[in-house]
């Protein structure tokens, strides 16, 4: 009895998930169609870029600084034991550029900007502003979704570049403080051992994560049900959806390029 009920529940969840995945896919197609021919509401895009940047740059800088330093602390015992002082720059850089940077900044961006975007679109939906746009013959996909997707992709890449640089600074500071390694040593260890491909590997991840976060947050925002209460539920679903997508896509991209 209980078994059957939980099976039914499980079935319901799977159905709901399939519906959401399908919905995000349909939205993706609509966004792509709206971009052919490439027409973009410049004002909306710039407005979103500005707002998102304002909101997320400080927090990314702060986190990246700590993460860069933290890598050194984790590395310190190993460095001391084997005297691998020349590897600090390479090791931290490799991990940060290719993996830690994109995924950490992506998750933070989703919590900060994606969640906010979902709340904004969900509120617009429940207060009939989306209907209002449509009543004025304006396509909500073109006017609301496309600029947000474009802005989030650009902004997440920019944040990753900033985050990478700041993390490097954090690494240099902590290497000097904890291991007494000169920043130059860290820098040359990095540039001698890492190529542009390591950097671009991370950047391409950010581009994909940015799209995933944007599509998830727009989808759950526009499909909100149940008034103000629904807005909270939508934000929740969007953040979870984005986190799962990021981890899945990261795995996929790492696996395919390994």
């Amino acid at each position: 009895m209980i078994f059957r009920r939980s099976l039914t529940q499980l079935g319901g969840r799977v159905m709901a998930m399939a519906r959401d995945v399908g919905g995000v896919f349909v939205l993706t197609m609509e966004v792509l169609r709206a971009l052919i021919p490439p027409r973009l509401d410049g004002r909306e895009t710039v407005r979103n870029l500005y707002k998102m940047g304002n909101r997320s740059v400080p927090i990314v800088v702060l986190t990246a600084l700590f993460v860069g330093g933290l890598m050194v602390i984790q590395f310190a015992a190993f460095v001391k034991q084997f005297g691998a002082r020349a590897l600090v720059g390479w090791g931290t850089g490799y991990a940060v550029f290719r993996e830690v940077g994109p995924i950490l900044i992506g998750l933070m961006f989703s919590g900060r900007v994606g969640a906010n975007n979902t709340a904004e679109l969900a509120t617009m939906t429940v207060t009939e502003q989306v209907d209002g746009l449509q009543a004025l013959a304006i396509d909500p996909i073109r006017y609301l979704v496309v600029p947000r997707v474009v802005a989030m992709m650009i902004m997440l890449v920019a944040l990753t570049v900033i985050g990478d640089a700041v993390a490097l600074i954090g690494t240099m500071i902590m290497s000097y403080v904890v291991l007494d390694i000169h920043p130059y040593t860290v820098w040359y260890s990095l540039v001698d051992n890492l190529g542009p491909s390591d950097f671009l590997h991370g950047i391409s991840k950010s581009l994909v994560f940015g799209a995933a976060i944007a599509l998830s947050s727009c989808y759950f925002g526009l499909t909100v049900r149940g008034g103000a209460v629904g807005v909270g539920r939508a934000v929740n679903a969007a953040v979870v959806g984005a986190a799962v997508s990021i981890c899945f896509l990261d795995f996929l991209m790492t696996y395919l390029t390994a």
């Binding site: 207060t127 009543a135 013959a137 304006i138 149940g226």
Partner: protein
């Protein structure tokens, strides 16, 4: 640019609409001639707003036919609907003001996206805001406005592009009697100027009956009564008459039904 003579501006036939198995409209038929003023009354949660959204092409009916300004809304595809919507103005019950835009930008919005020249936009927005008594509030944001002010911004936005058909959802809900009569004066003046067709949904029966030439009462998902506005308060139909007069004795049946209808279905919108 109004619909051709002899052709109705709005024509509904047997329109049905349900949400999640709950029937809201069950065969609504209505006709509004070009230049007409139709008032729609009826109990709360009776589907009046849904009816307006169907006419605006924002939702699709489950059954029946809708013709608006010569277009078949059931068969129309999105580009045709978008072109048609440019000829329709709509005031939403909850204003639907864009909360990231100032009052002036909200009113300018329809013109901006219709490619009107900038100086003409400024002039028309200023004139519209003056007409609704909001001159001086141009740079305020919607969050700073009272309900009545939002309503008037909504009216300004719905009429600024001189639409051929204007749909008003509760234009005077929550407004005092003086403002109410001012709003209806404004609607009347607009209509005289542009020759547009107006459909007004309102719970303020007396005020809408004074404005409209025809009144239709939506009840149990159908048009229960339709006739000249002047005859509403003496309608033969007891349910209609008592609803219009707000009489509780005869209106008990109406009241209980409307309370029933007002109770939202599980998962339904408020």
């Amino acid at each position: 640019m109004t619909a051709r003579d002899g052709q109705a501006a709005v024509e509904l036939e047997g329109v049905g609409k349900a949400f999640g198995g709950r029937r809201v409209l069950a065969g609504v038929s209505l006709t509004v001639p070009p230049g007409g003023r139709l008032g729609i009354i009826g109990p709360a949660a009776g589907g009046k707003s849904v009816l307006l959204k169907l006419i605006a092409g924002l939702q699709r009916p489950d059954a029946g036919a809708i013709r608006v300004l010569g277009h078949d809304l059931v068969a129309a595809r999105e580009p045709e609907l978008a072109a048609l919507r440019k000829r329709i103005g709509m005031l939403f019950q909850n204003y639907a003001l864009f909360d990231f835009l100032s009052v002036a930008d909200n009113v300018a919005f329809p013109l901006l996206h219709a490619g009107v020249a900038a100086d003409e936009i400024d002039a028309r927005v200023a004139a519209r805001l003056r007409a609704v008594g909001l001159a001086g509030s141009e740079s305020k944001m919607p969050a700073e406005l009272s309900g009545g002010m939002k309503k008037r911004v909504g009216i300004a936005r719905a009429t600024v592009a001189r639409a051929e058909l204007v749909l008003y959802d509760e234009p005077t809900a929550g407004l005092d009697p003086v403002t109410t009569s001012k709003i209806y004066d404004l609607l009347r003046a607009d209509q005289a100027e542009t020759g547009s067709t107006a459909v007004v949904v309102s719970s303020d029966v007396a005020a809408v009956a004074a404005f409209a030439d025809t009144i239709a009462m939506l009840h149990d998902g159908r048009i229960r009564w339709v006739g000249a506005a002047a005859g509403l308060f003496d309608a033969d139909d007891l349910v209609v008459r008592s609803f219009a007069r707000g009489e509780e004795r005869d209106g008990a049946a109406v009241l209980s039904r409307s309370v029933e209808a007002a109770r939202p279905a599980p998962g339904a919108w408020p």
